[in-house]
């Protein structure tokens, strides 16, 4: 049986077209994000896990997207989370926020609201006191992106 365009694939193309066109030249590409991530990690391997990144799957307003990040750690003097960096793929700048924790933080968790200029992946990378790196990714669909009207 030969593959022929179904109604579903036609719909997918119709829906995906405008998404591809919306990428503005000012936006950071995933490559720029990768460069920012490499600068943060120093080329060390990043393991998936230990980080929980909580961003809504679908947001209406890209101007204030709630973001919650937490990292599993005992938060003692010997073993704690030093830093959590949040990166995005399509905003003009790849960095979002860097959170610096100490053993006295008690819990490596934080919450804020961010701007997203379109549907994209948001990445969180945590650096532990032993230097190991852990990460999580969240895919967000934004219906009304930030920076749309100016």
């Amino acid at each position: 049986m030969t593959a022929r365009p179904t109604r579903r694939t036609a719909m997918a193309l119709v829906l995906a077209g405008p998404l591809a066109l919306r990428l503005s030249p000012a936006a950071a590409t995933p490559d720029e994000m990768r460069a920012a991530v490499d600068a943060f990690t120093g080329g060390r391997p990043v393991n998936p896990g230990r980080v929980t990144l909580d961003v809504p799957l679908l947001v209406e307003n890209g101007n204030a997207v709630p973001l919650k990040v937490s990292v599993e750690s005992p938060m003692t003097e010997d073993d704690y989370v030093k830093e959590v960096a949040i990166f995005n793929e399509r905003n003009p700048l790849p960095d979002v926020i860097r959170l610096h924790f100490t053993p006295r933080s008690g819990r490596a968790a934080a919450e804020t609201r961010i701007r997203l200029s379109g549907s994209q992946n948001v990445h969180a990378i945590a650096r532990m006191s032993d230097g190991s790196l852990w990460s999580a990714v969240a895919d967000v669909i934004v219906t009304a992106p930030a920076c749309a009207e100016s």
């Binding site: 000012a26 101007n63 204030a64 997207v65 938060m75 995005n88 905003n91 003009p92 700048l93 960095d95 979002v96 926020i97 860097r98 959170l99 610096h100 924790f101 100490t102 006295r104 933080s105 008690g106 819990r107 968790a109 934080a110 919450e111 804020t112 609201r113 961010i114 701007r115 997203l116 930030a146 920076c147 100016s150």
Partner: protein, 105 residues
Amino acid sequence: MVAMVNIPETVTAGTVVEVKILISHPMETGFRTGPDGTLVPRNIIPEFRCLYGGEEVFRAEIFPAVAANPFLSFFLRAEQTAEVELLWTDEAGQEHSEARLLTVQ
């Protein structure tokens, strides 16, 4: 600049306390054009710090991707009765700090 701070007043020793702050600030990204068609100069709060008993317990480096009127929530472990200070300066040079006494029983 106005800020709303939420920290419990009295807790038992060893409790991990949530600190919440909402700062009234435009967090101008520097990528937006104003009514006259020119770029509105960037003015964000690039750094936020929290001291507890004079010692830094939490710090955030903030980029333009943080929303206007930034909200931050984070934690600290209550060990002794001490002042919790929240400090930030925006790129226009406006300094601000908030202090709350955290009583530990």
